[in-house]
């Protein structure tokens, strides 16, 4: 954990290569431009091959989620006519779904005979929106609670951290399942709230530890000595230094939310079964596995794996890029 981060000042990175620009050949010492912390991080991130690969993977999946449903040849909400046998195989049962073919590259589902590619592409939207939405929402709650506890300390810190202790001792998957089933009501918005409401405590603990360390840094004391108010100290001096570990933790938590949400929906406790999500796609597939239908469960799951892999690579890259102690 990056708890003892030293604060960064713009351009103070000694390992910074001297940027060549403007075509000037002489006076290169004078042309030393200071880069801000985000520019430095971006430089480091670009050099992290796996991270770049992961980001491209994740962004591609996001792009597919946005435009994919308009491109795929079938409409998710229009049911195909039932068929007795798969084309070219008179012995097969059409109700078991048909294996991948040119017309249906991922095969078709058992029962309703939907195109699996269409199901996967349509499922991306809700799965990603829930993953990103719940993580960002949890990060906001975590930042507020952790910031208040870490900055002000005292009884407020004690109270908030006891709440965090209780929530962190919950057997989290059990509680997510129960709450989604009992309070979710099948709507994806309430699932976002459930995951955010149960996901913020670890982020709050992270932010609190950062605020605790930063609060006693010399530059904060200096700011306080010249009469800067609490609000400005928090937002101008502490928060910018605490934000990068929070970004990394939030990014990585998206992957966790996507997997857990898929499991919750798979059990029928999450998003309503008529809505396309990856979890719902897998939920329907289970009944047809003993009949030899492997393609229906395989492709929605692969979509989850690729998304999670992309996010994990991206998160690792961000961690290295945003950590001021890592050298490049």
């Amino acid at each position: 954990m990056t708890m003892n981060q030293s604060p960064r000042l713009p351009g103070s990175d000694r390992h910074l290569p001297v940027p060549m620009h403007g075509g000037g050949t002489e006076d290169f010492e004078v042309s030393l431009v200071s880069l801000n912390q985000w520019q430095i991080a971006w430089r480091r991130f670009r050099r992290h091959k796996l991270a770049v690969f992961g980001s491209i993977l994740f962004l591609t999946i996001c792009a597919i989620a946005v435009v994919g449903p308009f491109i795929v040849p079938f409409n998710f909400y229009e049911l195909p006519a039932p068929i007795a046998h798969c084309p070219g195989d008179p012995k097969s049962l059409g109700s078991n779904g048909c294996p991948p073919s040119l017309e249906h590259p991922f095969g078709t589902t058992g029962g309703l005979g939907r195109d699996v590619l269409t199901v996967v592409v349509n499922g991306a939207r809700l799965s990603l929106v829930i993953g990103v939405g719940a993580s960002v929402f949890a990060a906001i709650i975590g930042a507020i609670v952790g910031g208040l506890a870490g900055y002000f300390g005292g009884w407020l810190d004690n109270l908030l951290m006891r709440v965090v202790d209780v929530l962190l001792s919950l057997p989290i998957l059990f509680v997510i399942l129960v709450v989604s089933k009992f309070l979710g009501g099948g709507s994806w918005i309430s699932i976002v709230f459930v995951f955010a409401a149960l996901g913020w405590p670890s982020l709050a603990r992270l932010v609190r530890s950062l605020f605790l360390t930063l609060r006693s840094e010399v530059f904060v004391e200096a700011a306080r000595a010249v009469g800067v108010g609490n609000r400005r100290i928090i937002f101008r001096h502490i928060l910018p230094n605490a934000v990068s570990p929070l970004i990394v933790a939030t990014t990585l938590s998206i992957a966790g939310v996507i997997v857990t949400e898929a499991f919750v929906s798979f059990l029928g406790f999450g998003v309503d079964a008529t809505q396309p999500t990856w979890g719902n796609a897998l939920s329907g597939a289970v009944a047809f596995i003993p009949n030899g239908n492997w393609w229906w469960p395989a492709f929605p799951g692969l979509a989850i794996v690729l998304t999670v892999l992309g996010i994990n690579f991206m998160g690792d890259g961000l961690r290295d890029a945003l950590d001021p102690r890592s050298k490049f």
Binding site: R162, D165, V166, L167, S169, L170, P171, I172, L173, F174, V175, L177, V178, V179, K181, F182, L183, G185, A255, V259, A262, F263, F266, L267, F269, L282, A285, V286, I289, P290, N291, G292, N293, W294, P297, A298, G301, I304, V305, V308, L309, N312
Partner: protein, 366 residues
């Protein structure tokens, strides 16, 4: 040390109370509830529903229900109710404590709303299957992760090390439940059909697990009983092992690398100690410290993993029971399982801290 343990145990009490309070409220403010299954039945009258509610105490206000569940409010006076039930023996004298069978503080978890069985019976009948599955998987994954992690650290940057890194990245990204589904699809479904699709015993040839008939069968034909259990164990155990090896082997590798870079290892090498001794006696013993803690903290994950694998493989354990109870709004069973799971989390954290102090002389608690 003893003082520290007592203090931590005392601190765990408010945490557990808080947890049970939070969960109880979540359960009972939910719409629907156990009465939902009656709404579709035209034969059930409003009086019958009212009687059902009264019978289960569902018409009390939520705080009163919680208080009764806890065993503080009840038919007896407050202080008597707050005492733990059962008997104690002091110097040969057996004393009957007041309290008895009304509430968690008296060791009573209530009755299942769905089938009226004692919750403690429901849970104990589900405990052994979960225990068998979880411990088998746990022992295998810790052993494999340990050997692989240490070997990868000793042979750093070797082919094995890189292969392990890739396996870890993939294993880390694999959703447990999907892995289980795909294993069934590959090895239990046609054309291979090597293993059963799910369950814990072959229903046609073996009696129901846990019954007297089963143990009789187990006694008369231990080999075929174990073989039958084994074939049902392979896929769920493999699922748990593959997913959990990823994190653990990485952790053990990092711990071992850290230990190999310590000064005392360099000193040992400089003295001419054989490499084998350096690795196993000097480095490994120190690398074990964080690993021991981690193993303790992971015990609650066994429960979490149990929900997923037991659901996918219809394994008749506590995780499966939990899902069934959630589907039927069976509050007492849910509260019982959640309470046990929360206690496991709290106690495992405590056990990890104590183990850390026991194995690392540098750690002092007071």
């Amino acid at each position: 040390m003893a003082k520290y343990i007592v203090r931590r145990l005392l601190q765990a009490i408010p945490v557990l109370l808080g947890i049970s309070f939070v969960i109880y409220f979540i359960l009972l403010i939910a719409p629907g509830g156990p009465l939902g299954r009656f709404t579709q039945n035209p034969k059930i009258t409003a009086e019958q529903i009212q009687a059902f509610k009264h019978r289960w105490g569902l018409d009390d206000p939520i705080p009163v229900q919680y208080c009764k569940w806890l065993g503080v409010c009840g038919d007896k006076p407050f202080l008597v109710n707050a005492l733990p039930g059962g008997t104690i023996s002091v110097a040969g004298l057996t004393v009957e404590l007041p309290g008895g069978d009304n509430g968690v503080l008296h060791g009573d978890l209530g009755y299942s709303i769905i089938d009226g069985r004692l919750v403690t019976d429901v849970i104990t009948s589900r405990f052994l299957p979960t225990f068998i599955l979880a411990t088998t998987a746990y022992v295998i994954w810790i052993t494999v992760a340990f050997v692989a992690g240490v070997y990868a650290a000793v042979k750093r940057y070797s082919l094995f090390d890189s292969a392990l890194t890739i396996v870890n990245y993939v294993g880390y990204s694999l959703p447990t439940f999907w892995l289980g589904i795909m294993l069934i699809s590959l090895f239990a479904a046609p054309p291979l059909r090597w293993f059963p699709v799910g369950g814990m015993w072959t229903t046609r040839t073996v009696p129901t697990f846990g019954t007297d008939a089963y143990w009789k069968f187990f006694g008369s034909q231990p080999i075929s009983a174990l073989y039958d259990l084994g074939t049902h164990l392979v896929l769920p155990v493999f699922t748990l092992v593959l997913v959990n090896i990823a994190f653990d082997s990485r952790f053990i590798r990092a711990s071992m690398l850290d230990s190999l870079n310590q000064d005392f290892v360099k000193t040992a090498r400089a003295k001419g100690v054989p490499e084998r001794t350096v690795i196993f006696k000097h480095a490994l013993r120190n690398a074990l410290l964080p690993v021991v803690t981690n193993i303790g903290i992971e015990i609650p994950f066994l429960f979490t993993g149990a929900i997923v694998t037991e659901t996918i493989f219809s394994w008749p354990g506590m995780g499966r029971q939990f899902i069934l109870a959630t589907e039927s709004f069976d509050y007492p069973v849910l509260m019982g399982i959640l309470l046990i799971a929360s206690m496991t989390v709290v106690l495992a954290n405590l056990a990890a801290d104590i183990a850390y102090a026991l194995v690392d002389p540098r750690v002092h608690y007071d």
